[in-house]
Every structure is written in structure tokens, then in C-alpha cells.
């Protein structure tokens, strides 16, 4: 195939490369913010930053889940539809009930877990490629939401005030939604990096056969990755409901593209085995910031999608160059890379 198989994650050289990769996004981000701020200082005002972070929170939660799946050399295209189904479920639950926030978050994530499990089981036990399964469930989950909603829409005035407050309230100036996204990011990041379970996902992505030979429960881990992605998409659905207050069956339509873009821009290789959730979250932040910056710079909003596309190509091109360099470097040192 086209991708150079990266060596199994070794600290040292590879870590340096990956860190450089994330540094690249940070630099791009700093540059973007600097240029925009010079043209309009209000871009770094508290409100504007809060808006960007709120926008990022939902995308970042989705991107973290997607990164977990992509690292195992799979993909989950159904996340937008899962978000919609979860948001509508949560909206319906809250419509005439004043439930506390925590069970609502769990309910949303629960919807996601079920959807993710369906994806995972079909991929693992049905032996159907992830692209096909999640393309199919993209249609199916969305269809179910439309069926259920049947044209109805849930308005902010039908939701309990406590829930809407959760969408806007802040802790020392930082919105709860953002804190929640950071929590998700840190937990997933630490598990992927420092725990056996996490490292096994990378091993599976690098080489499924080798992982199986090494005694990794590839099947269970695959289902697990999809369940995580589903759960986080479900959680994102709750965040969506809290932030926007108005929910219809079309909530989150087309999000899958942004999420995959964020993950790829964030340096997670589409063929698995490399990348971090930190990178994915940074990718989400960069994409959201570009959107706001274009508005502030009064650049035609139509450019946004084209820029995102160009950025994806740039990111995978850069990754490829780095990968070739690393592979060449390792070969030179006569390392074990086959």
C-alpha cells in the first residue's frame, strides 16, 4: 500500500517527531491568531475566545473519539448521526423533566455506546470494513432520528433552565463544556499513552497481524475503540443540546467530515498506528479558529471549506515527508525496521 508502515512506537526519535508535529499546529495557530489580532484586536477579547473554545469543545470531543478509532486503522463515519440521535434523545428526556445534568450526560453517552457497539460488532464479527459499516450506519442512525422526530423540534423554552445554564455557565471564566472536553481529552490521552490498553491500540494499527501474534485481543479492542468513539459522539450530542438549546433531527449533519479533517490535520495517520488525541484536539481548535478568523478578517466565508481542504492535503503531505525521513533515518542506523 501507499503508507510507509511506521515502526512500533518507540520513545526517543518518534516521540520527538510527533511532538514536532503538534508544535507545527501550535505554530500555525499562533500565527493565525497574531495576524487576525493585528487586523482586529477584539479577536482576543474574552467573549471571542470563549466562543471559539465552545465551538472547539464539541468538535474536540468527537475528534478524540475518532482518533482512537483511526489509530486502530479503522474509521467511524457515523459520528455526526450518533450526535444527532443522542442530542434528540437527551432533548426528549428533558422536554418535560427537570433531570440533573449528570444522568443526562450518561444517557447521551449511553446512546452513543449502543451505536458504537453496533458498529464495532459489525466490523469485528461481521468482518465488514469499517468504512462500509459506518457509511451504512451514518444513513441508518440518521434515518432513525428522523423517524422518531417526525418533524418535531425541541426548543430552548422546553428545556429545564439548569440544563441550559450548564451550556453557558463558567468556572473561573472557563465554560463547563470546555472543562468537560478537556477532561475527556486528558483521560483518553493518558490511557492511550501510558496504559497497556492504549499501547495495544497503536500496535493493532501498525500491524493487525503482528498484534494478533503478540497475543492482543484484537477483536475486543476493535469493538472497544468503536464504543469509545460512539460514547464520545453521544456525549458531544449532550454538549450540542446544551449549547444550542434547539434540537431537530438534522443536528450534526455533515459533522463527520469536520471530525475526520480535524483528526487528519492533527497528525493522526489514516492508516493507523500513529498520532495522538492531543494532536486531534489541536486540529479541532485550529479548524474552529480558522472559521472565526475568516469572519473577523472579513474574508468571504466561502473560502473556509477550501482552506480546510487545502490544510488536510498539506497536513498529510507533511506527515508523509516526516515519515519518509524517519524511515530513512532508522534504516541508516541499521535498526530493526523491516
Amino acid at each position: 500500500m501507499t503508507a510507509v508502515d511506521l515502526p512500533a512506537p518507540r520513545r526517543s526519535s518518534l516521540d520527538v517527531v510527533l511532538r514536532a508535529r503538534e508544535l507545527g499546529i501550535v505554530l500555525a495557530l499562533v500565527l493565525l491568531v497574531a495576524v487576525t489580532t493585528i487586523s482586529n484586536p477584539r479577536f482576543v477579547s474574552g467573549q471571542s475566545i470563549r466562543d471559539i473554545l465552545l465551538g472547539t469543545a464539541i468538535l474536540a470531543v468527537l475528534a478524540v473519539g475518532q482518533a482512537v478509532v483511526v489509530i486502530t486503522r479503522n474509521i467511524d463515519l457515523s459520528v455526526g448521526s450518533v450526535l444527532g440521535l443522542s442530542a434528540f434523545t437527551v432533548g426528549t428526556l428533558l422536554q418535560n423533566n427537570n433531570l440533573p445534568v449528570l444522568p443526562v450526560l450518561l444517557a447521551g453517552a449511553g446512546v452513543g455506546v449502543v451505536c458504537g457497539a453496533v458498529n464495532g460488532v459489525l466490523v469485528r464479527y461481521g468482518n465488514v470494513p469499517a468504512l462500509v459499516v459506518t457509511l451504512g450506519t451514518l444513513y441508518v442512525f440518521r434515518g432513525i432520528t428522523y423517524f422518531w422526530a417526525g418533524g418535531s423540534q425541541i426548543n430552548a423554552d422546553e428545556l429545564p433552565a439548569a440544563f441550559l445554564d450548564f451550556g453557558t455557565a463558567t468556572l473561573v471564566g472557563v465554560p463547563y463544556l470546555v472543562l468537560l472536553a478537556v477532561l475527556v481529552l486528558v483521560v483518553t490521552g493518558v490511557v492511550l499513552r501510558n496504559y497497556r490498553m492504549g499501547r495495544e491500540l497503536y500496535a493493532m494499527g501498525s500491524s493487525p497481524q503482528a498484534a494478533r501474534l503478540a497475543g492482543i485481543a484484537v477483536g475486543r479492542r476493535t469493538v472497544g475503540a468503536f464504543v469509545v468513539s460512539g460514547a464520545l459522539a453521544g456525549l458531544a450530542g449532550v454538549l450540542f443540546a446544551a449549547r444550542f438549546g434547539t434540537i431537530d433531527a438534522a443536528a450534526g449533519t455533515g459533522y463527520e467530515l469536520n471530525v475526520v479533517a480535524a483528526v487528519v490535520v492533527g497528525g493522526v495517520a489514516v492508516f493507523g498506528g500513529s498520532g495522538t488525541v492531543w494532536g486531534a484536539a489541536l486540529g479541532a481548535l485550529l479548524l474552529t479558529t480558522i472559521g472565526s478568523a475568516l469572519a473577523v478578517l472579513e474574508i468571504n466565508q466561502f473560502w473556509q471549506q477550501a482552506i480546510v481542504g487545502g490544510l488536510i492535503l498539506l497536513a498529510i503531505g507533511a506527515d508523509r515527508l516526516v515519515a519518509v525521513r524517519v524511515a530513512a533515518g532508522l534504516k541508516k542506523r541499521g535498526s530493526h525496521v523491516s
Binding site: Q47, D51, Y146, A149, G150, G151, S152, Q153, N155, D157, D248, A249, A250
Partner: protein, 358 residues
């Protein structure tokens, strides 16, 4: 990769260009004159006394399904179709795209409907299909968003620009007690609808009977909830004597009401404009808002059904000046280009707001 390939492509391109450059070709300005749109004539003359036919098949095709506002519109249509003992049908795409609407129009032709009531997603893309429908004897009535004039029989216009501007000033004047400072909280600075209404308002305010009303500021909330909220706040800080904020956009009026209802200005400043009853209900009930307006979406669908039925029964052909009866809404006259204006917008107050659900 061999290096011949780009040259090959270039050569093909040049060849293609050369081929066409010699032949002259058809350009837009060539066809502008010759491309006369086909007109489908009704054929028969209108007979105002023809009875309304029963059992007419009337199909609604909104821009997209699953939109609460649209649901209310077509709900009104359903009531009317039942009143005239017709067969009601609702179809439509989940995405507001013209191409899927075309497929639905084709389906409706196949099903031999008598009337298609459509809100066009693209005024031209639906045209060929609508004309095919009209050739097959189906009457086409547009609402919400008109199709090109050559491919429909009538258009239900929700309200005239003049009517909306007048009623906004009327409400502001009543709420201000005929005198005092008023401000407008609009959508974006270049919003077409809002700007044309504001223009009518300014003409109205220049009239002697409104001479005591003073428009101090037009603010723009960009149809963004947060921005509208802060703009409302800014207006009240800058103009302490403000009596009325008029917001001719549903986002603006809701945001301004939310701010005022939770502030010390409640009861001192009146909010009015165009709003959705469901969004405004709580502010009407807590006294922040005395009255606001909007056309009744249900009436749009209702009127469309009667217009389509009258046409299908031969009472009217869609020509200017023809009159027909539209059930509880009374008699309507067709205007220029087949336009039928619904009438002045409905005013909502604490007394009637619970009768509306949209």
C-alpha cells in the same frame, strides 16, 4: 510517471478550444433573447361562478420537511383541503435541495395530483418539472419562496413590505403612547427583508401623525442571539429615555425580551416587532412584551389550498384582477404576476397567544 502526459492533456485542451473557437458558438447573450420561456396557457376562460370541485388531490411540497415553521404552514393547508373535501398530501426532502424537489414533482405528476403547492428551493431548477406538471393539467401554486413567474400559476405572498412596515410603526406608536424615543434592533446591516421594512417604517414615521415618535438608533444584532442580547443592553444604556425597541427579526426580538425581562428596565421599556409565539410566550406572560406581530403561517397554507382549488375548478386562471373566496379568510383578488397577498400580519397579545403553536 512519464513526462508525455501533461503535454497530451494540453494538446487535447487546445484541440477542444480550437474546435469550438472556429464555430462561433452559443453564448448567454445570444440566447437571452431567443430563449423565450415556454408559457403554458390555461386555455379556458375563468368562470367565477363555477362550483368548487370535490375530491381534488392537493399536494404540498415545502422547501424541506421537519421544520416547525413549515409544519404550521402545511397544517393550515390540511385544514383547508379537508374543508373543501379534497385529498391532502405532504411530501418533501429532508435537505433543502432543488434536485430532490424535482424528483418529488415528477412523482406528483405520476400520481396525477390536481394541485401542487410548492416552496421552491431554486426558482429555475424546478421550472421544467413544474411546467411539465402544468402541461399535464396540474395547477401550480407557490408559497414562501416563489419559482420563476413563467412556471407557476399563482404565488401566495405572506405579507406586503408596506403592510409589515406600517404595522410595526402602528404597534410602536401604541406602545409608546404616541410620543417618545424608539429604537430598531435589526438583523444584519444588509438584510434585504429587514431593510425594506425599515425603509417603510421611516416613511411612516415622517408622516404628521407620528411626528412625536423619534427614531434614535438602528442597531444590528446580526441575527445572532448573543450579539442581539448585547446590542439591546447597549441601546438601553445609551438611551435612558427609550420607550420602545422594535425588532423586525425573530432572533432580535427574543434576545431583547430576554434581556429586558431579567433587568430593571422591565415595565419601563416596551419590546415589539416580528416574533414566533412559542419563543415569545414566556415574555408575553411575564408582561415584558405587550404585543408583537407575524403573519400566521397556517393561513399561508390555507390560502394556497383555496387558490389552487379555485383554479382547478375553473373559477380563476391566475390573471390579475380575478377574485375568489378562501373560506374563513374571505375574498381575495389576484394581483400583478399572479401574486396573492395574504394580508396584514397577525398581532399577538396575552389574550390570543395561547391559540398559536409555532
Amino acid at each position: 510517471m512519464s513526462s508525455r502526459k501533461p503535454q497530451l492533456v494540453a494538446a487535447l485542451a487546445v484541440a477542444a478550444l480550437a474546435l469550438t473557437a472556429c464555430g462561433g458558438g452559443t453564448t448567454k447573450s445570444d440566447t437571452a433573447a431567443g430563449n423565450t420561456p415556454e408559457t403554458v396557457s390555461a386555455g379556458t376562460k375563468a368562470d367565477p361562478n363555477a362550483p368548487l370541485k370535490e375530491g381534488l388531490k392537493i399536494a404540498y411540497l415545502p422547501k424541506q420537511l421537519n421544520n416547525p415553521y413549515t409544519d404550521v404552514e402545511v397544517g393550515g393547508g390540511k385544514v383547508a383541503v379537508e374543508e373543501i373535501k379534497g385529498e391532502y398530501k405532504l411530501v418533501g426532502p429532508n435537505d433543502a435541495s432543488a434536485s430532490s424537489q424535482v424528483s418529488y414533482i415528477n412523482t406528483l405528476i405520476q400520481q396525477q395530483q390536481d394541485v401542487i403547492v410548492v416552496a421552491a428551493n431554486d426558482p429555475n431548477a424546478v421550472c421544467p418539472s413544474l411546467n411539465q406538471a402544468r402541461k399535464a393539467g396540474i395547477k401550480v401554486v407557490t408559497f414562501d419562496s416563489d419559482a420563476a413567474k413563467t412556471c407557476r400559476d399563482a404565488f401566495i405572498n405572506q405579507a406586503s413590505t408596506q403592510g409589515i412596515g406600517e404595522s410595526l410603526v402602528k404597534m410602536a406608536s401604541e406602545l409608546a403612547g404616541g410620543a417618545g424615543e424608539i429604537a430598531i434592533l435589526s438583523a444584519t446591516p444588509n438584510a434585504t427583508n429587514q431593510n425594506s421594512w425599515i425603509k417603510v417604517m421611516q416613511t411612516e414615521l415622517a408622516k404628521p401623525e407620528n411626528s412625536k415618535l423619534k427614531l434614535v438608533k438602528i442597531a444590528y444584532g446580526n441575527d445572532d442571539d448573543q450579539k442581539s442580547f448585547t446590542e439591546a443592553q447597549g441601546l438601553l444604556q445609551s438611551y435612558p429615555n427609550l420607550k420602545v425597541i422594535v425588532s423586525p427579526t425573530t432572533v432580535g426580538i427574543a434576545a431583547a425580551s430576554r434581556y429586558v425581562s431579567a433587568s430593571s428596565y422591565k415595565g419601563k421599556v416596551a419590546i415589539t416587532g416580528l416574533g414566533l409565539p412559542n419563543q415569545m410566550r414566556q415574555y408575553v406572560k411575564d408582561g415584558t412584551v405587550k404585543k408583537f406581530a407575524l403573519w400566521n403561517p397556517a393561513d399561508i397554507g390555507y390560502l394556497a389550498a383555496y387558490a389552487g382549488a379555485a383554479m382547478s375548478s375553473g373559477q380563476i386562471t391566475g390573471a390579475e384582477g380575478e377574485k375568489f373566496k378562501a373560506g374563513k379568510l374571505g375574498e381575495y383578488t389576484i394581483g400583478a404576476d399572479g401574486e396573492i397577498v395574504l394580508g396584514p400580519p397577525t398581532e399577538f397579545t396575552a389574550a390570543n397567544i395561547d391559540q398559536f403553536d409555532f
